[in-house]
Amino acid sequence: MNARLFNHLAMGGFGLALGFTISVAGLSNWDEVHRMFSLGLFTSGSAGGNPRLLLAFGGAILLSMAGFRLLARHDQIPVKPIRTGTISGAILFGAGWAITGACPAAALVQLGEGKLVALATLGGILGGAWLHEKARRAFHWSRHSCVD
């Protein structure tokens, strides 16, 4: 099959699956995301300190570890070392995720769910990435990679 067509089909298929899963898992629901991050401190009732999403995200990482170890142990995948912006960037991302209740993928999923306010989040994310590129050039920060 044509490699370009294959990329569109495969990436489209995985995009669809990921978007659907994020939605039905509750990762695009602000309340559910806050329930995960606030560790049940500000909740009441039966849905209180429900660790569902915490287990889902943590479990997904553990399954990914097992999957890569079993199926892709010797594969040549680009490395991700600790770099200058790793910690400060992660702090900013975590703060933004807590406020918006959306990681980059979830913002797109929210848009599909008909939650038009996600346009504000999405605009912010694109603006933030654009701003980082300007800052990176101005202060001569190194680039992590072309695409992560």
Binding site: H34, A47, A90, P104
Partner: protein, 220 residues
């Protein structure tokens, strides 16, 4: 708005998508970096043309040409450019001059594919939107708010939109700075035990917990 997937089913689906994506597409799954490409479209289209040209080229001719250009720029082995500082002499017995392959041939697994085109990445992002739409339509929740507590704390209006946009800037800037998001660093990078990803994931999760606790927004 209740009735989400049980945690183990969500974990299973996300884990399968992460590993399956690598095996099928031969690229590590990531979203923030893909999204960021669309903030510099002209530059990325030029990058795509370069990738396409390399893919089309005959590998042997390409290597010969690269070697010729490298030698033109840096000189050939054993004939350093005049005036250039000599590299530190290798220690005796270190096998100087012997090139070791990065990965032993017998163990070499799948190789990473070139960066997909901007068009393929647009398909990927577009289908994330479609996936969300499909799920919401099937569950009958299309168009509902971000959440019940969200509506209470960030009422629809300029203040709520400003909070989302400002938070979005933090997400966009932060993910570009640390080089990944919950997909690229969390699912894929941490799943592969990459140091940068493990640190990022721990730090952004801790930061999110700290901010959520500091905000203290009451949930039901």
């Amino acid at each position: 708005m209740s009735g989400f997937l049980p945690w183990w089913l969500a974990a299973l689906a996300l884990g399968a998508i992460t590993v399956g994506y690598w095996i099928a597409v031969r690229r590590p799954l990531g979203v923030s970096g893909v999204l960021a490409r669309f903030t510099r479209v002209r530059e990325e289209l030029e990058f795509d043309r370069g990738v396409a040209a390399v893919n089309r080229a005959d590998p042997i001719a390409l290597e010969a040409e690269l070697l010729a250009l490298t030698q033109e720029a840096f000189g050939t082995v054993g004939a350093p450019l005049a005036g250039a500082t000599a590299p530190a002499a290798p220690e005796v017995g270190s096998g100087a001059g012997v090139m070791e392959p990065a990965v032993p041939a017998a163990e070499a697994g799948r190789a990473c594919a070139p960066v997909p085109s901007l068009g393929a990445h647009l398909t990927f992002l577009g289908m994330l939107v479609v996936g969300g739409a499909l799920a919401a339509l099937l569950r009958g929740t299309w168009g509902a708010g971000l959440g019940e507590a969200f509506a209470r704390h960030l009422t629809p209006g300029p203040a709520g939109l400003a909070a989302l946009a400002g938070g979005g800037v933090l997400v966009g800037f932060g993910t570009a700075m640390c080089g990944g998001c919950s997909a690229g660093h969390g699912l894929t990078g941490a799943g592969r035990l990459m140091p940068g990803s493990l640190v990022s994931t721990g730090v952004y999760f801790a930061a999110a917990v700290a901010v959520a606790v500091a905000l203290g927004w009451r949930l039901t």
